[in-house]
Symmetry: C2
Protein backbone atom coordinates (compact mmCIF):
# COMPACT_ATOMS: atom_id res chain seq x y z
CA UNK A 1 0.00 0.00 0.00
CA UNK A 2 1.36 3.39 -1.05
CA UNK A 3 2.65 5.83 1.56
CA UNK A 4 -0.22 8.05 2.60
CA UNK A 5 0.73 11.68 2.28
CA UNK A 6 -0.07 14.22 4.98
CA UNK A 7 0.97 17.88 4.78
CA UNK A 8 3.31 19.01 7.55
CA UNK A 9 1.89 21.30 10.19
CA UNK A 10 3.40 24.43 8.66
CA UNK A 11 2.01 23.46 5.30
CA UNK A 12 -1.58 23.68 6.51
CA UNK A 13 -3.17 26.78 4.97
CA UNK A 14 -6.23 28.68 6.10
CA UNK A 15 -7.89 28.84 2.68
CA UNK A 16 -7.39 25.10 2.27
CA UNK A 17 -8.92 24.30 5.65
CA UNK A 18 -11.90 26.58 5.04
CA UNK A 19 -12.33 25.12 1.60
CA UNK A 20 -12.28 21.56 2.84
CA UNK A 21 -14.85 22.46 5.50
CA UNK A 22 -17.15 24.35 3.16
CA UNK A 23 -18.66 21.14 1.79
CA UNK A 24 -21.68 19.70 3.62
CA UNK A 25 -20.57 16.09 3.27
CA UNK A 26 -17.12 16.85 4.65
CA UNK A 27 -18.52 18.95 7.45
CA UNK A 28 -20.69 16.00 8.40
CA UNK A 29 -17.65 13.71 8.35
CA UNK A 30 -15.77 16.09 10.62
CA UNK A 31 -18.72 16.20 13.01
CA UNK A 32 -18.73 12.44 13.28
CA UNK A 33 -14.98 12.29 13.75
CA UNK A 34 -15.40 14.81 16.53
CA UNK A 35 -17.76 12.49 18.41
CA UNK A 36 -16.18 9.18 17.47
CA UNK A 37 -12.55 10.13 17.89
CA UNK A 38 -11.55 7.98 14.97
CA UNK A 39 -13.39 5.98 12.35
CA UNK A 40 -13.04 3.75 9.32
CA UNK A 41 -14.99 4.35 6.15
CA UNK A 42 -17.79 2.05 7.34
CA UNK A 43 -18.83 4.87 9.65
CA UNK A 44 -19.75 7.13 6.72
CA UNK A 45 -21.18 4.78 4.14
CA UNK A 46 -24.71 5.95 4.90
CA UNK A 47 -23.70 9.48 3.89
CA UNK A 48 -22.21 8.73 0.48
CA UNK A 49 -20.81 6.05 -1.79
CA UNK A 50 -17.53 4.29 -1.08
CA UNK A 51 -15.70 5.81 -4.04
CA UNK A 52 -16.98 9.25 -3.26
CA UNK A 53 -15.97 8.82 0.35
CA UNK A 54 -12.39 8.09 -0.65
CA UNK A 55 -12.48 11.40 -2.48
CA UNK A 56 -13.81 13.45 0.45
CA UNK A 57 -11.50 11.79 2.94
CA UNK A 58 -8.61 12.57 0.67
CA UNK A 59 -9.60 16.24 0.50
CA UNK A 60 -9.75 16.46 4.27
CA UNK A 61 -6.42 14.72 4.59
CA UNK A 62 -4.72 16.88 1.98
CA UNK A 63 -6.04 20.03 3.64
CA UNK A 64 -4.39 18.85 6.84
CA UNK A 65 -7.66 18.45 8.71
CA UNK A 66 -7.42 14.70 9.24
CA UNK A 67 -4.80 12.02 9.72
CA UNK A 68 -5.16 8.53 8.31
CA UNK A 69 -3.42 5.50 9.76
CA UNK A 70 -3.68 2.14 8.04
CA UNK A 71 -4.14 -0.89 10.27
CA UNK A 72 -4.48 -4.11 8.38
CA UNK A 73 -6.91 -3.53 5.56
CA UNK A 74 -8.62 -0.68 7.39
CA UNK A 75 -7.77 2.99 7.60
CA UNK A 76 -8.50 4.92 10.70
CA UNK A 77 -9.20 8.59 10.15
CA UNK A 78 -9.05 11.13 12.95
CA UNK A 79 -8.92 14.91 13.34
CA UNK A 80 -5.50 16.55 13.56
CA UNK A 81 -6.57 18.60 16.57
CA UNK A 82 -3.11 19.42 17.87
CA UNK A 83 -1.75 20.54 14.53
CA UNK A 84 -4.83 22.57 13.70
CA UNK A 85 -4.83 24.17 17.11
CA UNK A 86 -1.18 25.05 16.83
CA UNK A 87 -1.78 26.68 13.50
CA UNK A 88 -5.26 28.17 14.00
CA UNK A 89 -6.10 28.08 17.70
CA UNK A 90 -9.78 27.60 18.37
CA UNK A 91 -10.85 27.53 14.74
CA UNK A 92 -11.75 23.86 14.47
CA UNK A 93 -13.70 23.77 17.73
CA UNK A 94 -15.57 26.89 16.75
CA UNK A 95 -16.55 25.61 13.34
CA UNK A 96 -17.55 22.23 14.76
CA UNK A 97 -19.69 24.03 17.33
CA UNK A 98 -21.54 26.11 14.75
CA UNK A 99 -21.93 23.15 12.43
CA UNK A 100 -23.47 21.14 15.24
CA UNK A 101 -25.93 23.92 16.00
CA UNK A 102 -26.91 24.06 12.36
CA UNK A 103 -27.28 20.29 12.19
CA UNK A 104 -29.55 20.14 15.24
CA UNK A 105 -31.60 23.08 13.93
CA UNK A 106 -32.32 21.05 10.78
CA UNK A 107 -33.64 18.14 12.80
Amino acid sequence: MQRIHHPRREQIHLAGVLDSLSDPTRLEIVLRLDTLGEATCAEFLDACSKTNLTYHLRRLREAGVTRVSPIGTQRFTSLRRKDLDARFPGLLEMIIGFAREAASADA
Copy 2:
Protein backbone atom coordinates in the same frame (compact mmCIF):
# COMPACT_ATOMS: atom_id res chain seq x y z
CA MET B 1 -30.90 50.05 -10.78
CA GLN B 2 -32.22 46.68 -9.65
CA ARG B 3 -32.85 46.01 -5.97
CA ILE B 4 -29.73 44.52 -4.50
CA HIS B 5 -30.50 41.28 -2.71
CA HIS B 6 -29.07 40.47 0.69
CA PRO B 7 -29.90 37.28 2.59
CA ARG B 8 -31.62 37.86 5.93
CA ARG B 9 -29.60 37.16 9.03
CA GLU B 10 -31.21 33.76 9.64
CA GLN B 11 -30.52 32.80 6.06
CA ILE B 12 -26.76 33.06 6.49
CA HIS B 13 -25.31 29.55 6.50
CA LEU B 14 -21.98 28.33 7.82
CA ALA B 15 -21.00 26.38 4.73
CA GLY B 16 -21.79 29.42 2.57
CA VAL B 17 -19.69 31.74 4.70
CA LEU B 18 -16.75 29.34 4.78
CA ASP B 19 -17.05 28.80 1.06
CA SER B 20 -17.07 32.51 0.31
CA LEU B 21 -14.00 32.96 2.49
CA SER B 22 -12.07 30.05 1.04
CA ASP B 23 -11.03 32.02 -2.02
CA PRO B 24 -7.79 34.06 -1.79
CA THR B 25 -9.17 37.04 -3.71
CA ARG B 26 -12.24 37.26 -1.52
CA LEU B 27 -10.23 36.80 1.65
CA GLU B 28 -8.10 39.74 0.53
CA ILE B 29 -11.23 41.82 -0.10
CA VAL B 30 -12.50 41.00 3.38
CA LEU B 31 -9.16 41.98 4.88
CA ARG B 32 -9.31 45.36 3.19
CA LEU B 33 -12.91 45.90 4.23
CA ASP B 34 -11.84 45.13 7.76
CA THR B 35 -9.30 47.98 7.71
CA LEU B 36 -11.22 50.40 5.54
CA GLY B 37 -14.67 49.96 7.05
CA GLU B 38 -16.30 50.38 3.69
CA ALA B 39 -15.12 50.66 0.15
CA THR B 40 -16.14 51.03 -3.48
CA CYS B 41 -14.78 48.84 -6.22
CA ALA B 42 -11.97 51.32 -6.91
CA GLU B 43 -10.35 50.02 -3.74
CA PHE B 44 -9.87 46.54 -5.22
CA LEU B 45 -9.09 47.19 -8.85
CA ASP B 46 -5.42 46.42 -8.28
CA ALA B 47 -6.39 42.92 -7.14
CA CYS B 48 -8.53 41.89 -10.10
CA SER B 49 -10.49 43.09 -13.10
CA LYS B 50 -13.69 45.08 -12.77
CA THR B 51 -15.92 42.34 -14.14
CA ASN B 52 -14.31 39.76 -11.99
CA LEU B 53 -14.66 42.02 -8.99
CA THR B 54 -18.41 42.24 -9.53
CA TYR B 55 -18.42 38.47 -9.38
CA HIS B 56 -16.47 38.16 -6.13
CA LEU B 57 -18.38 40.98 -4.44
CA ARG B 58 -21.59 39.25 -5.41
CA ARG B 59 -20.42 35.99 -3.86
CA LEU B 60 -19.57 37.72 -0.62
CA ARG B 61 -22.89 39.54 -0.60
CA GLU B 62 -24.91 36.41 -1.36
CA ALA B 63 -23.13 34.50 1.38
CA GLY B 64 -24.21 37.23 3.79
CA VAL B 65 -20.69 38.38 4.53
CA THR B 66 -21.03 41.89 3.11
CA ARG B 67 -23.67 44.52 2.65
CA VAL B 68 -23.78 46.81 -0.39
CA SER B 69 -25.40 50.24 -0.39
CA PRO B 70 -25.64 52.22 -3.60
CA ILE B 71 -24.97 55.94 -3.36
CA GLY B 72 -25.12 57.73 -6.66
CA THR B 73 -23.26 55.68 -9.19
CA GLN B 74 -21.10 54.08 -6.52
CA ARG B 75 -21.67 51.06 -4.31
CA PHE B 76 -20.28 50.97 -0.87
CA THR B 77 -19.46 47.51 0.41
CA SER B 78 -18.96 46.76 4.09
CA LEU B 79 -18.79 43.73 6.36
CA ARG B 80 -22.02 42.59 8.04
CA ARG B 81 -20.29 42.31 11.40
CA LYS B 82 -23.39 42.45 13.57
CA ASP B 83 -25.27 39.84 11.60
CA LEU B 84 -22.30 37.53 11.36
CA ASP B 85 -21.56 37.91 15.03
CA ALA B 86 -25.14 37.19 15.94
CA ARG B 87 -25.07 34.05 13.86
CA PHE B 88 -21.49 32.86 14.37
CA PRO B 89 -19.98 34.79 17.29
CA GLY B 90 -16.27 35.37 16.90
CA LEU B 91 -15.90 33.51 13.61
CA LEU B 92 -15.28 36.48 11.34
CA GLU B 93 -12.76 38.12 13.65
CA MET B 94 -10.93 34.85 14.07
CA ILE B 95 -10.69 34.17 10.36
CA ILE B 96 -9.62 37.74 9.65
CA GLY B 97 -6.95 37.39 12.30
CA PHE B 98 -5.51 34.18 10.84
CA ALA B 99 -5.73 35.55 7.31
CA ARG B 100 -3.80 38.63 8.35
CA GLU B 101 -1.08 36.49 9.94
CA ALA B 102 -0.82 34.46 6.77
CA ALA B 103 -0.69 37.61 4.63
CA SER B 104 2.12 39.15 6.67
CA ALA B 105 4.03 35.86 6.69
CA ASP B 106 4.02 35.97 2.88
CA ALA B 107 5.57 39.44 2.85
